[in-house]
């Protein structure tokens, strides 16, 4: 059994991993940059090590310092969380070469799945449907080949992820220019200018499957997640099970995910992402070889702890669960709490967390990574926390989610909490029939409604009374003079 784990991450995911480690009696080692010295993950961990870097985010990307810290403190394993080095094959290999356990798949699998072109080739080889695509470095022949799959098309970066560098092209005239832009963006984000063109599936849904693999060709799935509520190709609301999904389609998708994982000798928890077309055809999108941000919805409906399963697989090389033992119960919804301004084109917001009061409740889970007093700058991802609500059915999960969002108090930096509420309240979301175009299609209906005069009054009064001068003037007057009021003789 692994006795201590270094968490090569920060924020909510570091906290979430530490909490499972604590429960399992495993020593947790946190790392942090000076800017994060008061962060919750530093306080929660048994030990915390400072990593030096000029730029805070660089600290969490510094393989050498991480491995040195792990060795120095006697960590048996490194958990990369998500982001940072989680899908970095070189890191995985270096960790393993040092004699430590990397809680993730083998470096080879990371390499394959990290390259979209190779990944889709692998999927095709495993008999998984893939959207019609063109891969051609020669722009002239590429344009002709694209005619074969038909417009509109999507340009994607081979090394891409998180929606960065993706472009929709509607006709041949735009293609050349858009490819050039996509290549330069890919170069900038991923240091890899390769792009490819794929048929753009109209009104697609984003369905993904949580899998567990032992690395020896055995894999099981933990059902699907619906992740179609996206802005800028990034998810902000996820749920499980996927609403309004034909059970036979669900089975097929889940089976495809297991087939792919088994074929890849996948080890660790992973996610296979699919595009589901309105005609129920589905296509492999990509595989994420790590714990996913939205994994808690799966945990909520299956009752499992995915980090615990990761640790079990990493230490034993076996799965301790069988497919038949896994069941879905009720419905879960996750909302990503982000420092951003939804009404200003999701512009990232900065500030400092002045007041933080998290909602509480049996069916509500908050994976939080920020603390009161924390400066929210542009150094890190804008996601601050996740709120997951579980209910016996979808309607009640939505209600609980809305209730918890209403009680979620985070002041000092603009967050999207109210926007999330508007999403959950929207009829299209409530009907369960929506696709990745949901936020854009309903943008006008998702704008904040103007306040009633009485609400404005309350806001103004509350604000005025909070100030020194007005609050003092309102209350700190002797009784007699307060009773007489404005009086002149």
């Amino acid at each position: 059994m692994i006795e201590s784990v270094l968490i090569a991450n920060r924020g909510e995911i570091a906290c979430r991993i530490i909490s499972t480690l604590r429960r399992m009696g495993i020593r947790s080692i946190a790392v942090y940059h000076f800017a994060d010295r008061r962060a919750p993950h530093v306080k929660l961990a048994d030990v915390a090590v400072e990593l030096k870097a000029e730029v805070p985010s660089d600290a969490y990307l510094d393989m050498q310092q991480l491995i040195d810290a792990a060795s120095r403190l006697g960590a048996a394993a490194i958990h990369p969380g998500y982001g940072f080095l989680a899908e970095n094959a070189i890191f995985a290999r270096t960790v393993t070469d040092t004699g430590l356990i990397f809680i993730g798949p083998s470096a080879e699998v990371i390499e394959i799945m990290g390259d979209k072109i190779r990944a889709t080739e692998f999927a095709t080889g495993a008999g998984i449907p893939v959207a019609p695509r063109v891969i051609d470095d020669d722009i002239a022949t590429l344009a002709d080949e694209v005619e074969g799959i038909g417009y509109p098309v999507l340009i994607k970066a081979a090394a891409g992820g998180g929606g960065k560098g993706m472009k929709i092209v509607h006709n041949r005239d735009q293609l050349r220019e858009q490819i050039a832009i996509a290549q330069s963006e890919a170069e900038r984000y991923f240091l890899d200018r390769r792009v490819y063109v794929e048929r753009f599936i109209q009104r697609p849904r984003h369905i993904e499957v949580q899998i567990l693999g032992d690395g020896n060709g055995n894999a099981i799935h933990l059902f699907e997640r619906e992740c179609s509520v996206q802005r800028r190709f990034q998810k902000i609301v996820e749920e499980s099970p996927a609403p309004d999904l034909d059970p036979s389609v669900r089975d097929e998708i889940c089976k495809a995910a297991v087939t792919l994982s088994a074929a890849a000798n996948y080890r660790n928890a992973g996610t296979v992402e699919f595009i589901l077309a309105p005609d129920n055809s589905f296509y492999f999108l990509e595989m994420n070889t790590r714990l996913q941000v939205e994994h808690p919805v799966t945990e909520a409906v299956t009752g499992l702890d995915l980090v615990e399963e990761q640790l079990h697989i990493a230490s034993s090389g076996t799965l301790r669960l069988t497919q038949s033992a896994i069941t879905q119960s009720g419905h879960a919804i996750e909302c990503r709490i982000c420092a951003e301004r939804p009404d200003e084109d999701f512009l990232p917001a900065t500030g400092s967390v002045r007041l933080l009061r998290l909602p509480e409740g049996d069916d509500v889970r908050i994976d939080n990574g920020v603390h009161e007093g924390q400066e929210i700058g542009a150094s890190f991802d804008s996601m601050l926390a996740k709120l997951i609500a579980h209910g016996p059915d979808r309607r009640r999960a939505i209600e609980r989610c809305i209730g918890a969002l209403r009680e979620y108090v985070l002041l000092g930096v603009a967050v999207n909490i109210d926007y999330l509420t508007r999403i959950l309240r929207h009829p299209a979301f409530q009907s369960g029939r929506y696709d990745t175009g949901f936020l854009a299609d309903h943008a006008n209906e998702l704008i904040a409604t103007p306040l009633d005069r009485s609400d404005v009054d309350a806001v103004l009064v509350a604000a005025a009374l909070a100030t020194d001068s007005f609050g003092h003037a309102a209350y700190a007057v002797p009784d007699l003079h307060a009773a007489i009021g404005h009086w002149r003789n």
Partner: protein
């Protein structure tokens, strides 16, 4: 405590007549106040506006806590002097609330002759600082004055209670630990310069505020030095170099904001814990006071009717209700404060004087503030009463009253003639505050009596000199005396000369007393003690 039962018939002709008469007096008072407060030549208003200055009352309103009372003092001071050139004696004084603390405000009125100090201006400022000393009230000075009005310098400079007394009082206040803040909006020249200098805190507005012993013209004359106002005594000079002022402000608004914040730092006073309960309004309408006060000065009225319209729930615990009935004494609550009331219901006889002296002692023994309601024509005169010792009994009342250690407050309700004024805590007896109603008359004796007396003296003089008695001369003396008297006995004259702390609309009496009592509790009680009573 029992509720007083009013015997007032509000449907009577008499009530209606009195009401109309007194209400008209009150309205006339408010009109005069309005004129004294805001009526200014256009050029003065424009001059202030051009300098970026607010009117002095605007400053006060911004300085005071919103929705709190301001008890203005002597609003009609100097109104019958200097041909009306110094409305309100060119300054504003009063008790108000700044940042939750009771303070005395003194503001120069630069909308009148540049805020120049007339003799009565000095008297009003000295009085307001005397009140601050007696009641330990912090003072905020809003300075903007051209300095002393030179043509009248002999009446405002040399004597004990003239200009020097302002700065003496400031020093005494400071010695007592009472805080002072100056907001320098305009010039503080010559003596006026000592106001910020003697304050604990001074804020000065850049550009318009200036403090100097002599302004540029005088400096030029004295030493030949050519220097601008700003170089000589501006905000930057005093806050960066001389240290005469503490805070520079870039505008009047900012100066006021800084001032409010300074006051907000001051410790809350440990007020003397007077007996207090939840207050209730009087059971009878205060405006009925208009219908009680007779339009004729010679007419008597029951002071209990007034008490019923001032005290909490119109309740009154009357002391010795059957003895010495021309003096009404008793306990009541006013805005929740326990007070002792001494009120005239006729001429003072031996028994009423003794009762008064005794009740005043009771209030001192009980640490109960005293409120005197004056309507007095004097102590009873004549052989019989002298034989009974009316003079020594009156002296007892004066002794008890003068030596009281509890705060005293006096309302001049109708008439105040002769020695009764003394026993009932007239101006000379250090009432913490003394207010006059518009109908009030005051004098050593009534106008007719005085005229009669002087005519009598003239007649005797003529007779002594064995001159022919010319009835015309006698009548002349009578008419002359009466005329002079008729002006000088009025409340308006009284308040113009600052023989009081202001004229009050009778309906404002309860609030004024409440604010006054509250202010008085800032000062610790002094030791009690009396002189020798003549028995």
């Amino acid at each position: 405590m029992p509720r007083l039962r009013s015997n007032l018939n509000t449907n009577s002709d008499e009530f209606r007549e009195n009401y109309t008469h007194n209400r008209a007096l009150a309205m006339a008072l408010h009109e005069k106040q309005e004129r004294a407060r805001v009526q200014r030549p256009d050029r003065d208003i424009q001059r202030l506006a051009k300098q970026g200055k607010m009117m002095p009352r605007e400053r006060i309103e911004k300085l005071l806590d919103p929705a709190t009372p301001f008890l203005e003092l002597s609003s009609l001071a100097a109104n019958m002097a200097y041909d009306g050139n110094s409305p309100g004696a060119s300054c504003i004084t009063g008790i108000g609330i700044v940042s939750g603390r009771e303070v005395m405000l003194h503001a120069d009125d630069s909308s009148v002759k540049g805020g120049a100090w007339y003799p009565l201006t000095v008297k009003k400022i000295v009085r307001c600082l005397d009140i601050a000393i007696e009641n330990r009230l912090p003072v905020v000075h809003l300075c903007d004055s051209a300095g002393g009005f030179l043509p009248l310098q002999s009446e405002l400079f040399p004597d004990k209670h003239m200009a020097g007394r302002i700065f003496r009082n400031q020093a005494i206040l400071s010695r007592l630990g009472v805080k002072q803040l100056s907001l320098v909006f305009g010039h503080c020249t010559a003596g006026g310069a000592y106001i910020p200098a003697l304050s604990d805190y001074a804020v000065i507005v850049r550009g318009t505020g200036a403090v100097f012993l002599a302004g540029p013209p005088l400096v030029k004359a004295a030493t030949g030095e050519d220097v601008s106002v700003d170089e000589l005594g501006g905000a930057d000079l005093h806050t960066q170099i001389s240290g005469t002022c503490d805070y520079p402000a870039s505008s009047e608004d900012q100066a006021i904001a800084i001032g409010r914040e300074i006051v907000a730092q001051w410790e809350h006073p440990k007020k003397w814990a007077i007996q207090q309960q939840t207050s209730e309004p009087p059971a009878y309408e205060p405006d009925e006071i208009y219908g009680i006060i007779p339009s004729n000065i010679k007419k008597q009225f029951d002071m209990r009717e007034i008490i019923a319209r001032i005290t909490d729930g119109s309740r009154f615990h009357e002391y010795q209700p059957a003895y010495g009935t021309t003096l009404v004494c008793g306990f009541a609550d006013l805005w929740g404060y326990k007070i002792g009331i001494v009120a005239n219901n006729g001429v003072l006889f031996n028994d009423s004087a003794l009762k008064g002296a005794h009740f005043i002692e009771l209030c001192n023994q009980n640490n109960t503030p005293l409120v005197f309601l004056q309507n007095i024509t004097g102590y009873m005169v004549g052989r019989e009463y002298e034989a009974q010792g009316i003079t020594k009994d009156g002296a007892k009342m004066i002794m008890a009253q003068a030596c009281s250690h509890v705060p005293k407050f006096t309302i001049m309700c109708h008439g105040s003639f002769g020695a009764g004024n003394y026993g009932m805590c007239g101006r000379a007896y250090d009432a913490r505050l003394l207010f006059t109603w518009p109908n009030h008359q005051i004098g050593v004796m009534g106008g007719e009596q005085a005229a009669q007396t002087l005519a009598e003296v003239k007649l005797r003089q003529l007779q002594r000199n064995e001159q022919a008695v010319d009835q015309q001369v006698i009548d002349g003396v009578y008419a002359e005396t009466l005329e002079a008297y008729q002006e000088q006995v009025t409340a308006e004259y009284s308040t113009s000369e600052i023989w009081d702390d202001g004229i009050l609309d009778p309906v404002d009496t309860r609030n004024a007393l409440g604010i006054a009592i509250s202010a008085s509790l800032n000062a610790p009680l002094t030791e009690s003690g009396y002189g020798v009573f003549r028995f």
